[in-house]
Symmetry: C2
Amino acid sequence: MVQPSFDAFQAIADPSRRKMLRLLSKDSLTINSLGEHFDMSRPAVSKHVKILHAAGFISIQDIGRERHCTLKQDGFHHLQEWIDYFDKFWVSKLKKLETLLNNKSQNKK
Amino acid sequence: MVQPSFDAFQAIADPSRRKMLRLLSKDSLTINSLGEHFDMSRPAVSKHVKILHAAGFISIQDIGRERHCTLKQDGFHHLQEWIDYFDKFWVSKLKKLETLLNNKSQNKK
DNA sequence: ATAATACGTAACTTTTAAGTTACTCAAACG
DNA sequence: CGTTTGAGTAACTTAAAAGTTACGTATTAT
């Protein structure tokens, strides 16, 4: 897994880029076929693809003059790790609450 | 869970806001105490907090003239759901590969 | 009652992101 | 070998985000 050169969080901040990832979850697509789903110029699509690639969300395979974009796990992993950190926070918060409740019920005895 | 009025993905696109969430995972903080960790004016901090709140990442409790910010799960859930969708994609991709490999080994027999 | 504190709002500036058009290049096609 | 097709780059415009200062308003402290 190569170090991403673009912030994953910023990459998915744009709705068009999120839509692109959704489309790519159905099928590998070229720049043009991807662009058919959007109301924007091809260079704009190109830019978005570049960002998604730099952030590790897609891999690109050049076949002749076409560029085939495929979903890649790296970017998603990065996000998952971030969320996992906070997940731990909730778990420990629950544990604290649990301990608190246990102590209370013990006091009643 | 109230419908968020701000896009969760955009909310965490900003590094300062992500740092704020990290800080809040350690402790509930007021606007000012939060701001101490940043090199920006207090109104700027206020704006970020507003966004995090609107996106469902924090809850705010007014105590006198202070505003206490606490981490909230809603925003994180939203993100997790999004990632989960793609997780399914990887799983099904793996299954397809598995089936493919099984068929190949059967042909050998 | 007055001063200090904690914060929000408004108006504005600056920065950055997203989009455009015009152009270029290389691969495929006839 | 000229032409079409798929895509990248450069220069620019537009729009949105992030930040600022100046000011207003409750709440707390003296």
